[in-house]
Subunit: 344 residues, 2 copies
DNA sequence: CGATTCGATCGAATCGATTCGACTAAGCTA
DNA sequence: TAGCTTAGTCGAATCGATTCGATCGAATCG
């Protein structure tokens, strides 16, 4: 069926009666070629059904592929359900799209061979990756591939696009403290790669690899050292419901719950309603991210997700140009919602 | 800062005292190499800080890049907000992940130079693309790159993963007809690349390029030839609100509105509530997709989105193996919700 | 008119690996 | 011991373009 021999640039050049270097110039437009010659080359290409220079060969020679890798640790479906990741991706795509680059989705799971090491990328953006990707990072570094990380531990030679997770979290906790809350529960993002769900002991905590989760938790701990903590298996509404169930159905239910994402918080509100508890009268709920969920007027921290994606994109462009961009630190903005109240 | 000369496989081979062919074998594992030699090569690589074979060179020689292109017509942000696209992507990623391939996001917008033509992909999946991508498809075909299309017009040499949009839509319309509705409105997905929002005239309709939108509309037209049609600018809740506003605030408001997606339907329900209309008592609403939105118990058609993505993935794998998979046709399943009732 | 640009084109080297066919030495059988 | 297989290694060709430096004729300048 398929005709094995596809035409090459050399074949086109031969037919047009020019050298392959000239033909290349005619296609790429980077160099002086007379209009007449160019037309001859293009005509020859059309006659031979030539579809333009092979991207593979071009990227080998040029040393650039026009592809930016996006490393995501979760399953794609999980990642895409998170509006924050989507927003960041959008900002990133916007910036790198300016140079015609496209995004390669790389999911880095423990079980599979490292995709990131064999992908022809010009640069890589790590999305909320844990320390588990350190090995891959090392390969990239050796290969001289620029790396930008959003929400990740600070690594050498990696440009970080940060957020003040800890102090933002502390601020939220302080609001609760001011309202007289003493027994607060926390529902965290996954603490480890396994996404184990359940109450968190000191042991778990010291073995945790989830950077963002630990930062936000640390912020809360500064005010509520004894907070009861439940680790979710992901940033979903359903997980919030589970977390709330575990905390509310215990012997000493908390008077307030701090969720590490708005999706989790929405689940908590839902679970409270299921139990006949009124928010905020019976239970104060706090979120994180600044994303609207279920139309709830949530007390939370809004983070500039699209801007963070953009910043990552700009850092990538700068790195690609040989520059060495500094880390960028964004700040969350407190959103006064209607889900916290003084303890009864 | 960066040391210009990165080690190559040849350098590693030289240091290990073997030929580069042997070194290649040692890395790829495809061929007999003694354990001792292999160790020498690996040691040499470590000593030189060699990060493994360059993916670019490898893909040129092998003729495979391990990358599957995903062509999306919308802005990335818009596409990611659509749970159906996400589900399809997830199914697709699942299948092609089996051979270690990753997905390259290609947005094909009118204004930018065609990214798809210069991407080193082994195959391409078109996601709900209109006829506008025909040109790019042509280039791919000439290059011998397999193409699979989800929700797209039937194109020569393109494997289609279809859905019975028309008959499903007709089924929904028939439910309304049976309940006595005569004046129905339709809120469609974008009809053209420009995503123009507004009432649809016969002129617009004949110039439409949105395949899915036109199919679903045709299904409705079989029963309600005179339905008033409003084209949305995208599958979002907000767009549903706008569409409902236009239809409901007209002189002869419809007694039922058919939305071409559940997100749009959710917007319509919301807009109805804003006007003090009760669904379904005052207004029947119908969706499409089978996605839960806002917890509404919607009457709709559920389409197997993940499975469709999977089917696309399998088709890609088969094409890559030289096979010629047949088109696949999926069927929507009617979901009896609580948003339609007899006309008053 | 001779010297000098400048525009257009060509040849050849290069990007960095993979792979095919050939070759060697060792192990095995008859 | 001759003949044959096989594991291990090597050389060279190849994938398909880009790019640097050289060349050559024509146009420009003093």
């Amino acid at each position: 069926m398929t005709n094995e021999a596809r035409p090459t640039l050399a074949a086109v050049a031969a037919r047009a009666g020019v050298s392959s270097s000239t033909a290349s110039l005619a296609f790429s437009g980077s160099g002086p070629v007379s209009a007449e010659t160019k037309k001859r080359v293009l005509d020859a290409a059309a006659a031979l059904d030539y579809a333009g220079p092979d991207p593979r060969a071009r990227s080998l020679r040029r040393g650039r592929s026009g592809i930016i890798g996006v490393v995501i640790e979760d399953r794609l479906r999980d990642a895409f359900r998170d509006p924050i990741i989507i927003a960041m991706l959008d900002g990133l795509a916007d910036e790198v799209g300016a140079i015609g680059a496209s995004l390669l989705l790389i999911t880095e799971r423990a079980d599979t061979a490292s995709e990131v090491e064999s992908a022809p990328v010009d640069a890589v953006v790590l999305f909320g990756c844990s320390t588990r990707v350190t090995v891959s990072v090392d390969v990239l570094r050796r290969r001289g591939i620029p790396i930008v990380a959003i929400e990740a531990e600070h690594l050498d030679g990696v440009v970080a696009i940060d957020l003040d997770n800890r102090s933002s979290s502390r601020l939220l906790a302080s609001k609760l403290a001011a309202l007289g809350h003493r027994r607060v529960g926390v529902v965290t993002l996954p603490l480890e790669a396994s996404h184990r769900r359940g109450f968190v002991t000191a042991e778990h905590e010291s073995a945790a690899t989830g950077y963002v989760a630990m930062e936000r938790l640390a912020g809360v701990r500064e005010l509520f050292p004894d907070a009861v903590v439940w680790a979710s298996a992901g940033s979903f509404v359903d997980e919030g419901v589970l977390g709330a169930a575990a905390l509310l159905d215990s012997e000493q239910p908390p008077t307030a719950i701090i969720a590490q994402s708005d999706l989790l918080a929405a689940g908590i509100v839902r679970a409270a309603a299921d139990r006949g508890l009124h928010v905020p009268a019976d239970l104060s709920v706090i979120g994180f991210d600044g994303v609207e969920v279920d139309g709830i007027d949530l007390t939370t921290i809004r983070q500039p997700a699209v801007d963070r994606g953009r910043a990552a994109g700009r850092a990538v462009l700068e790195l690609l140009n040989g520059g060495s961009p500094a880390d960028t630190a964004f700040r969350g903005e407190f959103v006064e919602g209607a889900t916290i109240a003084a303890v009864r």
